[in-house]
Symmetry: C3
Subunit: 388 residues, 3 copies
């Protein structure tokens, strides 16, 4: 297949480009639909030096942040903007994030992406796990990719993809590598994430991954709803229990709102796949997340309908575990161990829904999968999900 | 009014210039006095990547550091150099400052400015304030400005100004913005500081500001004196009490000298404004700081007449509070709370005094304001000022 | 003497070059042997912004890292590669190293050099020494040089050298400066290190220096051996005592191997100089380290024959002290104190051995020096060397 590809960053060979534009118009023989891959380097303030790779398949533009552990800054599909307005407005370079700050909560000062990976050696709250002091949600989101490459297939279905490698390693500290790929095809509302995590070290290594996928306005508004097929769902905390009756709907922004977190065991279809759907009050716009339950058996719903100024946002979070302290998740058997040379992978996708028909079809699918088992909604925190 | 202006940095739009020179000579229609605004980017060592904006009104040059929270590196007015020689010689980029280091004293490794702002959420010593671990003097001085713009009025009085915005924000961490402006007019020895701090968050936010204004040689020397009108003045600590008899005069550099800090309630004139004056032994050169007591009701005098190599310096520090731990200042009602959308502002100025007449006039003014109330000098620390 | 020199970095004047190539071919009058001095700036990932200065004397190339405290990344002399394969593959910019992370072990995330200096105010494990929280092996390796200059003598012996200054200072934090020089002459397998450490402060300052010189394959392999003349040698820990019978030979890489550390009092020749030799199983390739016992009275041997993936490496470490916590070393009189203006210096060298004859001669020299006193090998940790 005729494929155009290019290495944008390769630390080992000193390769890096400040700016790059590859556009379909530039390929003289090419007669397919328009596309573009662009590279920018942000300058100034807290964004100084942040690399952005933009995948443009026509109606969809995805802004990938290699500098922030291959996170996804935001995306736009027609009239559907995916992302949110964090109190921290622009992408933050890791040089300005001290994960140890604020008692291990420094991660919060750089958090504003549509997709922020939490891992690799740990995620969840800060604390001391044996001899290891852990910081909130781990280190991967504040590590720059050492290798970034994109490719475009110049034949149907005109696939565009960008791959980045991010290392989380240190002597006596383990040696994990994330290889993250974002892929989309011409004209599609679907962005596929293909992640591989390898243990390059000579010893077994613990591993956790939570996909912190965050959506605000316009998909999130008063009256927005979320749906997913599940066996059981429970509030993570007493605070979340207060809102259990309305766990799947959203209130208007409210100053002083304290986050509410729900955890669920997703139910899969006959192929082992499931989905979660978030849509606006009119059910005219939304987003679906599709994943394999075998790869990501845990789902967390983060509701943070705080004031707009404080970050009005909800998180749909498929993961290998629930966002508890690692020691608790280990106890519950939800921390993976990769043997030397071992690898983990997950392929999942983000689908922008820009029509009422699209939202309805996704909700219908949730219903169909749910039919296999009645959903249990616990009104209080459950011992298997969290410390009660 | 004919005004020339330019945006030097705007992170939101990716604007940033490495180097910039705007000079009066470059404006063909302009027939006024000479001025210049220059932008430089420091390179190498700990200064790598530090932006400097130089305001030049003819006799006065001020070196503003957007990368260090809009601090003022140093200034020169005729034969009066304002600044000091810190053990850390050049401006330090925040990437090399870990505020958490040395038990929360990491700030000291980047401290060498004429003016270093201490705030915004807190200033004072490190420690645990409830759930919040605070580091020395807060974070604002080690945050780069995300937007920097200057302007020059091409008509009398030929005002030159530079404005920078610095964000101190994070999810669940508050959202404060400093907008700092330095302004001066052609030929003037006066540099005016106009600061606005806004609470952009949806929740009330605590706020503190201390202007750490630091002066060394040649204004500071053995026999230099400081003067200000005040109601009460007290040593902050027993160590400072040892030197109470000489609180307003300075000794020669002395190796091993331990800092002495005095705090005062300044007395204002009929317009609510006050001043502090520092001058050299001959009373021939000096500096005055002028401010509004309503905006900055607390004054701290920092005496650090250590060996020249260790930083021979004194600080004249108008502030919203005294430099105690935030919990103590809160108890005394000296921590401000900004409501959502609330703003605080202060306008004050720095005046270079290059003649004996100028020094004498400033001292005369201090005396005149002092006449309204006899100054009380406490010989020991006072409960209202510090933990005794 | 005709000398070519150039300043590559000078933070004080804003001098910095991104890339530089000086080659013998470029000097029209020059008819001596070929040499080159090159400067590169690494880009991408964790290496973003790391300066590398390459000294090339013909057969020897040394890669100096000004950005990492003038460390030596790696070197190559004919078929002898000096360096190792750390789990962290490329040089890491200090902006990505948080020394406070992992309970003061963050240094390990940037550690991959052939030579990494441990100091200046302290080295050894992290902990609280009085009021001072210390991090592993101190700060100097993660401080960029503020001034870098090289020179080449265009006459015999055609000496090439690069010098860098690194500051470790802060208000109330001391003021130490390292001036590190690497020097080599045309065609030579010898790289000489000349270090000067100055106390620029006005107060006495404690100082420690350990040269963490690390070698892996191909010099290190199963059956490699180390030799040095010494009075006494002991295991630092019970774990090291387990391997005392084989302290001077190396096993194959072994997953899960826990490091073993031995400490020795080196014996000097009639000129006060000594050496340590590491060679491969065939005694055909190796490396010698030569130093003055007066300058570096302590020698540490670090054996870390872990899996190749985890960093198969050994360290030959001449130092002012043993790698214990500073408080212990102080108690034993092995922490130096530099008076104000005081300076410490050491000149030592690294010799690549690329022939069996070269290895044999070096081993012969070890034997000859050892003849002066019988070596004592303790089978257990000794109170004078470590906390037993």
């Amino acid at each position: 297949m005729a494929t155009h590809s290019h290495v944008l960053t390769d630390a080992a060979s000193g390769t890096w480009v400040e700016s790059w534009d590859a556009e379909s118009e530039g390929f003289s023989e090419y007669a397919g639909p328009p596309w573009a891959v662009r590279k920018r380097t942000l300058r100034g303030g807290l964004s100084e030096g942040v690399d952005v790779v933009i995948l443009d398949n026509g109606p969809l533009r995805a802004y990938v942040l290699p500098t922030r552990g291959m996170g996804l800054g935001w995306a736009q599909y027609r009239n559907v903007r995916l992302g949110w307005d964090s109190p921290v407005p622009d992408p933050v370079h890791p040089q300005f994030v001290n994960l140890e700050a604020r008692g291990g909560l420094g991660w919060l000062e750089g958090f504003n992406e549509l997709l922020c990976r939490c891992g690799l050696a740990s995620n969840g709250p800060p604390g001391r796990d044996g001899n290891a002091p852990l910081t909130l949600h781990g280190r991967i989101a504040n590590r720059p990719a050492g290798r970034v490459e994109y490719s475009v297939d110049l034949e149907p279905p005109y696939t565009i993809r960008v791959t980045g490698q991010v290392e989380e390693a240190g002597l006596f500290c383990g040696r994990l590598r994330l290889t993250a790929t974002y892929e989309t095809v011409s004209g599609s509302p679907v962005l596929t994430v293909q992640d591989v995590v390898e243990n390059l070290g000579g010893q077994p290594a613990e591993f956790q991954m939570l996909y912190h996928l965050n959506v605000g306005a316009p998909v999130l508004a008063a009256g927005s709803r979320v749906a997913l097929p599940f066996r059981e769902l429970a509030p993570l905390t007493p605070r979340a229990a207060e809102g259990i009756d309305a766990w799947d709907s959203y209130a208007a922004p409210q100053a002083g709102y304290t986050e509410q977190v729900y955890v669920a065991e997703p139910l899969a279809d006959e192929n082992g796949r499931t989905l979660a759907v978030l849509h606006d009050p009119a059910a005219a716009r939304g987003v679906a997340v599709r994943w394999a339950v075998r790869e990501l058996p845990c789902f967390t719903l983060w509701k943070n309908t705080a004031a707009v100024e404080d970050g009005y946002v909800t998180g749909l979070e498929p993961a290998t575990n629930y966002p508890n302290f690692r020691a608790f998740e280990r106890e519950k058997g939800r921390v993976l161990t990769l043997p030397p040379g071992g690898r983990w992978q997950a392929t999942w996708s983000l689908v922008a829904l820009d029509t009422a028909a699209g939202v309805a079809a996704a909700l219908e699918e949730v219903k169909r999968v749910q039919a296999a088992a009645g959903p249990v909604v616990h009104r209080t925190p459950q011992a298997k999900f969290s410390r009660v």
